[in-house]
C-alpha cells in the first residue's frame, strides 16, 4: 500500500510524515513522528489517554485516521510547556500530587487545557464532566480535580 | 518451651490437637520436633509460606530463633496485590 504524505504543524513546528491511510493518528504520532507523550489505553476512544488538541479542540488521537491530520494544527503534551516553562496545569499537577503512575496524565493535561481555554472559571461539576472522558485508575480523581481548580485560579490571575 | 498453635487445617495431622508445647530454639528445630510427634507434618509445615512468632510474621523462617514460651503459628500462603 503506498503511503500518504501528511503536512501538519505539531507543537508549533511544521511537521511532515508518511503514513498508511489505515494507521491511527495516535500510532503515527508515536511511531512515525516519535512523540510518545500520547498513550494508548484502549484504542477505542473510551479512556482518553491519547487526548491531543487538533485545531484547539480535544480529540482522541486513536479515533482519528492519520490522513485526517493533514493541514491541521496539533498540540500534544510535549508542546504544553513553553520553552521549558511549565504550563500552570503541569505545575499544579506536580504540586497537587495529581498523578501517581502517570500514564493518564498527558491525556488529562490536554483535556483540562481544552476546558480552561473555553471556560476559565469552571465549577467542580463542570470540571468532572469535562474530564469524564479521561479514565484514571490510581488517583480516584480527587487531586486531579483540585489541581485543575488551582490552575484555573492561577490562570485567572487570582 | 515454645507454644505452637495449629490452624484448623493442620489439626487433621495432629490428631485434633490445636496447641502443643515444643522444646526448640529455632523454627527448623521446631518443625523437626513436630515431625517426630506427628509424622508427616514436617513437609506440610515447611510448605506454609510464613510463620508468626510472638505476633511477628516471617517468610522463609527456617533459621529464625524461637525464644522460650514464644507463641508460634504456621500461616497459609498469602500474596500481596
Amino acid at each position: 500500500m503506498p503511503r500518504t504524505h501528511i503536512t501538519t504543524v505539531i507543537n508549533g513546528d511544521e511537521t511532515e510524515f508518511l503514513t498508511e491511510d489505515s494507521t491511527s493518528l495516535l500510532n503515527a504520532l508515536r511511531d512515525d513522528v516519535g512523540l510518545t507523550g500520547a498513550k494508548e489505553g484502549c484504542g477505542t476512544g473510551d479512556c482518553g489517554a491519547c487526548s491531543i488538541l487538533v485545531d484547539d479542540r480535544v480529540n482522541c488521537a486513536c479515533l482519528m485516521f492519520a490522513p485526517e491530520a493533514d493541514g491541521t494544527v496539533i498540540v500534544t503534551v510535549e508542546g504544553l510547556a513553553d520553552s521549558g516553562e511549565l504550563h500552570p496545569l503541569q505545575q499544579c499537577f506536580l504540586e497537587g500530587a495529581a498523578l501517581q503512575c502517570g500514564i493518564c496524565t498527558p491525556g488529562f493535561l490536554m483535556a483540562a487545557k481544552a476546558l480552561l481555554d473555553k471556560n476559565p472559571d469552571p465549577t467542580e461539576t463542570e470540571i468532572r464532566y469535562a474530564l469524564a472522558g479521561n479514565l484514571c485508575r490510581c488517583t480516584g480523581y480527587d487531586k486531579i480535580i483540585r489541581a485543575v481548580q488551582e490552575a484555573a485560579r492561577e490562570m485567572r490571575g487570582q | 518451651m515454645a507454644q505452637v498453635h495449629f490452624s484448623a487445617g493442620l489439626r487433621e495431622l495432629t490428631g485434633g490437637a490445636a496447641h502443643v508445647e515444643v522444646d526448640a530454639s529455632t523454627v527448623r528445630g521446631l518443625i523437626a520436633a513436630l515431625d517426630e510427634m506427628f509424622p508427616g507434618i514436617g513437609a506440610r509445615l515447611s510448605e506454609a509460606s510464613s510463620v508468626a512468632i510472638d505476633g511477628e510474621i516471617f517468610t522463609d523462617a527456617e533459621y529464625e530463633s524461637v525464644s522460650d514460651n514464644a507463641e508460634v503459628h504456621f500461616l497459609d500462603i498469602f500474596q500481596g496485590g
Binding site: 489505515s22 480535544v58 485516521f65 | -
Partner: protein
C-alpha cells in the same frame, strides 16, 4: 484501505458509486472501534468533514440546517440552537466525552443505526428531516424513516446524508431527552426517552410527540401516550398512563447492558419525566413567545 477527503457533495457521491465497499464517515467514533473489533475495513474511507455544507449550523428564522458531519459539540456550544432545542442539544451532547463530542455527528449517530443512539429519539420528536445525496440527486427522508433495523438504514450504498432540516420550534413548545446509564458519562443508553409538547392557550397539552430509544430494533413512537396527553394538564394519572403506554410500546432484548423487564419499567419512568421537563420548557417559552 484508502482515505479520501472530497471537498464537494458531487465528488463524494461519485467516489461512493465508483467503489462498492467505499464508506463515508465523519467522526468515526463508531467506525474505528468496529474496525478494531474485527469488522473488515472498507477499501475506501470517504471523509465528509472537508465538505463545507456538511459541517455547518445555520438558521434562516424558519428552519435550522445542520450539516450531517457537524461535530455535536458545535450544537451544544451554540446558545441559540440549544435554547430553541434544549432536548435535541442535550441528546447530541450526551454522546460520549468532550473528546468524542468534537467528532461525533448527527449523521454518524443516525447512520450507525444503533438502537441505543442518543440523538435519534430527540430528532424524531422534533420531526427532523434528513437531506440524502446520491448519484442521481438528493431526496428528503424523515429521520424516523432512515433507520430500518440494527445496523441497517434505508440509504443505498452510494447515498449519504448531507444535512438535517429542523423547522423552528413551534410556539408554546418544549422538548427534552433523558437516558438511563449506570454511570454519569461514557455509557451507551440502556433506555432513552425523547419528548416534545406543545401547549394550548389554556396551558393544557395541544400536541405531544414521544419516542423511545434502546428498547426496540429502531426508535419507537408511543401513540397511546401521545393521545393520553392531548387535552390533559399532565396530571399524575395521565403521567402514569404515559408511563404504562411507554412500557407497553417497548420491544426490548436482554443484553449485556440491560434486561427486558428493566428496560420496560424504566422506559415508563423516563417517558414520564421527559414529558414533565418538556412541559416546563414549553411554559417558560410560553412567556417569551
Amino acid at each position: 484501505m484508502k482515505y479520501v477527503a472530497p471537498s464537494s457533495v458531487e465528488e463524494a457521491a461519485s467516489l461512493l458509486s465508483s467503489s462498492p465497499s467505499a464508506q463515508v464517515f465523519a467522526g468515526a467514533t463508531d467506525v474505528v472501534p468496529q474496525i478494531r473489533a474485527g469488522r473488515p475495513a472498507p477499501d475506501v474511507l470517504v471523509d465528509l468533514k472537508k465538505i463545507k455544507e456538511l459541517v455547518a449550523l445555520n438558521s434562516d428564522g424558519e428552519k435550522w440546517t445542520v450539516g450531517a458531519a457537524t461535530p455535536t459539540a458545535y450544537l451544544t456550544e451554540d446558545e441559540a440552537f440549544s435554547h430553541e432545542f434544549p432536548g435535541l442539544s442535550e441528546a447530541a451532547g450526551l454522546i460520549g466525552s468532550d473528546q468524542i463530542q468534537n467528532r461525533s455527528s448527527l449523521g454518524g449517530n443516525l447512520c450507525n443505526a444503533s438502537p441505543a443512539a442518543d440523538s435519534v429519539p430527540a430528532m424524531v420528536v422534533n420531526e427532523v428531516r434528513a437531506v440524502v445525496a446520491g448519484p442521481n440527486g438528493t431526496r428528503v427522508l424523515d429521520v424516523s424513516e432512515v433507520v430500518t433495523g440494527p445496523g441497517q438504514t434505508a440509504l443505498d450504498d452510494d447515498e449519504f446524508i448531507v444535512e438535517f432540516e429542523i423547522d423552528k420550534m413551534p410556539s408554546r413548545s418544549g422538548d427534552a431527552y433523558l437516558r438511563m446509564i449506570p454511570r454519569t458519562e461514557m455509557d451507551i443508553a440502556v433506555v432513552g426517552a425523547g419528548a416534545r409538547v406543545t401547549l394550548a392557550d389554556d396551558g393544557s397539552i395541544e400536541q405531544a410527540v414521544l419516542a423511545l430509544g434502546a428498547v426496540a430494533p429502531t426508535v419507537v413512537r408511543i401513540p397511546d401516550a401521545e393521545q393520553a396527553l392531548v387535552g390533559s394538564t399532565a396530571d399524575e394519572e395521565t403521567l402514569n398512563a404515559v408511563a404504562a403506554a411507554a412500557s407497553e410500546a417497548c420491544d426490548p432484548i436482554d443484553d449485556k447492558r440491560g434486561t427486558v423487564e428493566y428496560r420496560k419499567q424504566v422506559a415508563g419512568v423516563l417517558a414520564k419525566r421527559a414529558v414533565v421537563i418538556a412541559i416546563e420548557r414549553a411554559e417558560q417559552r410560553n412567556g417569551k413567545n
